[in-house]
Chain length 178, copies 2
DNA sequence: TTTACTATAATTAGCTC
DNA sequence: GGAGCTAATTATAGTAA
């Protein structure tokens, strides 16, 4: 039989591509599970394909979020900062927040007419109005709108949590629900 | 030799755990590369470990961000919405933004004293002040602070982009840089 | 510590039903 | 389409240098 000797290239046949996908997906997730169990490390895998209605996520949505968060906070730092961040991530996060904090203060001082909330609202309006003008097939636009949607969601969530805190939270409660 | 028949459990010995990690990491990333090449799907893997100064990311930071974005926008939806999202993600994003938009409007109307920007700023202050009280070893707190740091970063980025748009952007430019 | 080796386990491509 | 098979290939645990 003309079997084996697989060349690493896109499988053109639809059904065999799907079959290969299903088999290898299982192997990939198993691999991820094993390296996590054996080595106790923080690992995550996401497989997003047209064959599954939802993305396959390992180890779990919660665990994946942790990994994503770590990724988000380290990917754009210079090498030296990355190392420092790894050694003491908490300190890094504090620095990052302080920096963002100062940026917000500066923006408020430099341009008191800018109301950030109003701007975000207007920004959303613009984004909606602009989409029909031909952005439907623009991947970068789609990606940024997704980011923005998530951003707004997260912002609202943090706002709700903050309101809870301000209305009656103690330090202990902040530590648990922040 | 008493070789093979590996039990799937945390490897206690430090050096052999690290060795196993290095070997299996290579295998995992290779696997990810192959399923992507063979099946043309969108997959991403992140391995974050104490052994590497930076997380190992496959296929790339950019590609990973795309996968993360997709994940973020689909993970918390009911099954029916997930399907709809897959079929027409753009429409979903618009709905999501509209909903967030309306929520912001409602909040502004219901409680005009609440200045979201001011609140975010205060929220950051609270977060900073609370950390020394014993939150250093609280994983949930760390996670949320990371999320918040990323959120603020993204918010500032979107603000900057928006300012560019408001200062001189046309519809075409919005479509490209939004 | 890293590299090389290799015996074995594990994966999987192509097949059949 | 899926389940199961088998052989070919690949990955890797443990050892040795």
């Amino acid at each position: 039989m003309t079997r084996w000797k697989v060349k690493l290239a896109f499988i053109i046949n639809n059904s065999s591509r799907k079959t290969t996908y299903k088999k290898r997906k299982r192997g990939l997730l198993k691999n991820a599970h094993e390296i996590f169990t054996l080595c106790g490390i923080n690992a995550g895998a996401i497989i997003y394909s047209p064959y599954d209605p939802t993305p396959a996520v390992w180890p779990s949505v919660e665990g994946m979020n942790q990994v994503i968060t770590t990724f988000r906070t380290t990917r754009n730092l210079p090498e030296i900062d990355r190392h420092n961040n790894m050694v003491n991530q908490q300190e890094f996060v504090q620095q990052r927040i302080t920096k963002a904090d100062q940026l917000l203060l500066k923006k408020k001082k430099d341009n008191s007419e800018v109301n950030l909330t109003e701007d975000m609202y207007r920004f959303l309006q613009i984004g909606q109005l602009t989409i029909p003008a031909g952005g439907h097939n623009n991947p970068a636009l789609t990606r940024d709108l997704n980011d923005l949607g998530y951003l707004v969601d997260q912002y609202i969530n943090s706002l709700n949590r903050m309101i809870q805190i301000l209305e009656g939270g103690s330090d202990v409660e902040i530590g648990e629900s922040l």
